[in-house]
């Protein structure tokens, strides 16, 4: 009998757990995001604390790794158990959800907050579909940065590089001093970022846009001898990395620059979050160089999935969006996160030198490049990931072979 009762209780709890995800409190918002590394977690806490202070209740549902978090979130949205708010990268990722009518529009909020006036045009465009606002942009990330350890370069007696040619010239000197010249995380997406940095930095913005543009222009751009030169430079960088690079996470690579074990890391400016988390100051302990020659714009947005039985945003969702978009929180968040505020009306003079460099670059449209999320489908990006990582990790694959495979991958993918 006791067994039976226990079983009943068990089933009841199980059933309850299934239903429990739908929170009742109108001011509580469950948030799916993938900010789990030390610096990222500290940044997201800025939002959470500000929201709680404003009277809301932030329910954290962090899922490590962007791919996994997006897959999980999309599953829940389509399956009818949506979170209150969910992170995406600025770009094409949310298209299918908008098409399916799964997201609430933010038009009223945008109008009240005058979003159109305070956001840069490209970011505003990326947050809208068919004239309606669907995404709340929270930051602008630049992908094409090189971060270096001031101490490592001083020890080696080398000036930090400004171009890829400099990198190739300086790296052997660092190596001679027993410093790992380049800290890299050996995961396909990180290698892709590195490749894009070389492509934009050495090949030029024009080549970058063509390679990732229309399939016809891409074929011509890839056949250009300059593209092969890019591939060769990219491959040479491998010689300046340590054997433990395979499979390493980006934040572990950043930690190597922080400790001075490695000289530099090519990464998006989210790496700055790790530096400040380790109490390092830009310009003093570490430096940054826009090695891609401009600003490869990425960023994060949040969307608000339609809730079952609700016709509009809940009070909590509205409050959360307003809180996150307010100038003071924008500044505080982006300082920790390492990105720059999406609002052009925020005074960035209190931010570090890297962010100020970034903000200056953002003022010059000719220096701005969209990141891959805007340009190509996940299918193509994935196929190129494979080609790039294969080339980078196979010593005897030639640049010619790589160029051929790169062209094929573009042709074959959707």
């Amino acid at each position: 009998m006791r067994f039976k009762a226990g079983l009943m209780a068990f089933v009841a709890t199980a059933a309850l757990a299934v239903g429990a995800a739908r929170a009742a409190d109108p001011n509580s918002v469950e948030v799916i995001h993938w900010w789990t590394s030390g610096g990222e977690a500290a940044a997201v806490k800025v939002f959470a604390d500000a929201f709680d202070k404003a009277g809301g209740k932030w329910i954290d549902a962090a899922i490590a790794n962007g791919d996994q978090a997006r897959a999980a979130g999309i599953n829940r949205i389509i399956g009818g158990n949506p979170p209150g708010m969910m992170q995406f990268n600025t770009g094409k990722q949310l298209d299918e959800l908008v098409k399916g009518g799964y997201l609430d529009t933010l038009d009223a909020l945008a109008k009240a907050g005058n979003w159109a006036a305070v956001l840069p045009k490209s970011i505003a465009a990326a947050s809208m579909r068919d004239g309606h606002w669907y995404a709340l942009p929270v930051n602008i990330h630049g992908q094409g940065w090189m971060f270096y350890s001031v101490k490592a370069f001083k020890d080696a007696g080398v000036e930090p590089p400004k171009t890829w040619a400099d990198v190739l010239a300086d790296a052997p000197k660092l190596k001679a001093k027993g410093i790992i010249p380049i800290a890299q995380g050996g995961q396909p997406w990180q290698e892709h970022i590195l490749f894009d940095d070389v492509l934009a930095g050495q090949g030029g913005s024009d080549m970058f846009l063509k390679v990732y543009g229309d399939k016809k222009t891409a074929a011509a751009a890839v056949a250009d001898p300059k593209f092969k030169a890019v591939a060769e430079t990219f491959k040479k960088l491998k010689d300046f990395m340590d054997p433990g690079e395979a499979g390493r996470n980006w934040n572990d690579a950043t930690a190597m620059v922080i400790t001075g074990k490695a000289g530099m890391q090519m990464m998006g400016d989210w790496a700055k979050g790790e530096f400040s988390h380790a109490n390092q100051t830009a310009g003093k302990d570490y430096g940054c160089v826009p090695i891609s020659g401009g600003y490869i714009i990425g960023g994060d947005v949040f969307v608000f999935p339609k809730q079952a039985g609700a016709s509009d945003l809940s009070a909590g969702q509205k409050l959360l969006a307003e809180t996150m978009f307010s100038p003071a929180i924008q500044l505080a968040f982006n300082k920790v996160k390492g990105s720059i505020p999406v609002r052009t009306d925020v005074d960035t003079s209190s931010m570090d030198t890297c962010a100020q460099q970034g903000a200056a670059l953002m003022k010059d449209p000719s220096k701005q490049l969209p990141s891959l999320n805007y340009l190509i489908s996940p299918d193509e990006a994935g196929a190129l990931d494979d080609v790039i990582t294969k080339y980078f990790n196979t010593p005897d694959e030639t640049a010619d072979q790589f160029v051929q495979k790169f062209a094929d991958a573009i042709k074959n993918s959707a």
């Binding site: 791919d67 897959a71 299918e96 050996g186 995961q187 396909p188 054997p243 433990g244 690079e245 395979a246 499979g247 489908s377 996940p378 299918d379 990006a381 994935g382 196929a383 494979d386 080609v387 990582t389 294969k390 080339y391 980078f392 990790n393 196979t394 010593p395 495979k405 094929d408 074959n412 959707a414």
Partner: protein, 303 residues
């Protein structure tokens, strides 16, 4: 037998067997519809042009031609073939040695049996994580051996694109050889004591007895073990995810991971289905002969 007699016999058989057949039916339907149905649907989708969402349109063999044009898939199949052969041979060999060894009536036999089996009761995820550390170029085995005084010892297969598959083999063999041991040990325990007496009298060395007399009698057990191992080869996924994530480069990618990546991250349902179908066809080609073999092994023996 007259028609009436045979009809009566048939009715009697029906009356006897109907309850049993009915009892079997639910399980049979569930298994057939879900397993076979899923496989059919996978095959169907592989001929479509589905991206993020499945569509049941007709795109012919387009996905297959792309699939075999995709270096990562082609290499994945090579990795899995190399892994499969080495893993099966090594696990069988090591498992046999362990079984022979336990058969020597060592002390604390039960303890050792459990220790050898423990890796098997751990999931591939945990196995992968533990071995990732053991094989790390600066930690684990390399560090341990260096601490023992061999200062220049290096063991960096896991970051070498030509050798990384062998590290997967090491971890998987560690995990599975206990299972082979358990299967073969049961066979060894069935060996007639008279046989040992006879070989002792003839002064045949023990290893010869194992090799020429006992091993052949273990044939069916070895086959079963080999099939079980082969099945886990086709399923290989979580070990790779936990241990190498397919790297360095694509040098430890496997078909199952290719399928997952295309299905989830890359919104490429049709291409993933094509790869899955190829995997299924291969496994059917392996399991089919085994089913046939098992049947004839049991022929005449009422199960």
């Amino acid at each position: 037998m007259t028609p009436a007699e045979s009809a009566a016999k048939f009715r009697a058989r029906l009356r006897n067997q109907a309850p049993a057949a009915l009892a079997l039916l639910p399980a049979a339907i569930v298994v057939a519809v879900v397993y076979v149905g899923s496989m059919l649907m996978t095959a169907r989708l592989s001929f479509s042009s589905s991206h993020m969402l499945p569509t049941f349109d007709w795109a012919g063999g387009e996905q297959y031609s792309r699939l075999f044009d995709t270096e990562r898939f082609v290499e994945s199949t090579q990795h899995i073939a190399l892994f499969g052969v080495l893993f099966i041979v090594a696990s069988l060999t090591l498992g046999f040695l362990l079984a022979v060894f336990i058969d020597q009536k060592v002390r604390f036999e039960a303890l050792f049996r459990t220790i050898f089996l423990y890796p098997f009761s751990m999931s591939f995820i945990v196995t992968g994580l533990v071995w990732q550390w053991m094989l790390h170029p600066e930690l684990g085995i390399e560090k341990t051996v260096r601490a023992w005084g061999f200062a220049h010892f290096t063991f960096r297969w896991i970051v070498d694109e030509n050798l990384v598959v062998y590290t997967l083999v090491i971890a998987a063999v560690w995990q599975a050889s206990g299972l082979v041991m358990a299967i073969l040990l049961a066979g060894l325990r069935g060996v007639d004591a008279e046989l040992w007496k006879a070989t002792k009298i003839d002064a045949i060395p023990t290893w010869r007895v194992y090799w020429s007399v006992i091993l052949p009698t273990l044939g069916p057990m070895l086959t079963t073990a080999a099939v079980l191992l082969a099945v886990s080869v086709a399923k290989l996924f979580d070990l790779v995810v936990a241990m190498t994530r397919g790297g360095p480069g694509i040098s430890s990618e496997v078909p199952a991971k290719f399928i997952m990546d295309n299905f989830f991250g890359r919104s490429n349902v049709a291409l993933g289905s094509a790869a899955a179908t190829m995997l299924l066809v291969t496994v059917v080609a392996v399991v089919g002969p085994w089913v046939y073999f098992e049947h004839f092994r049991r022929k005449g023996v009422r199960a």
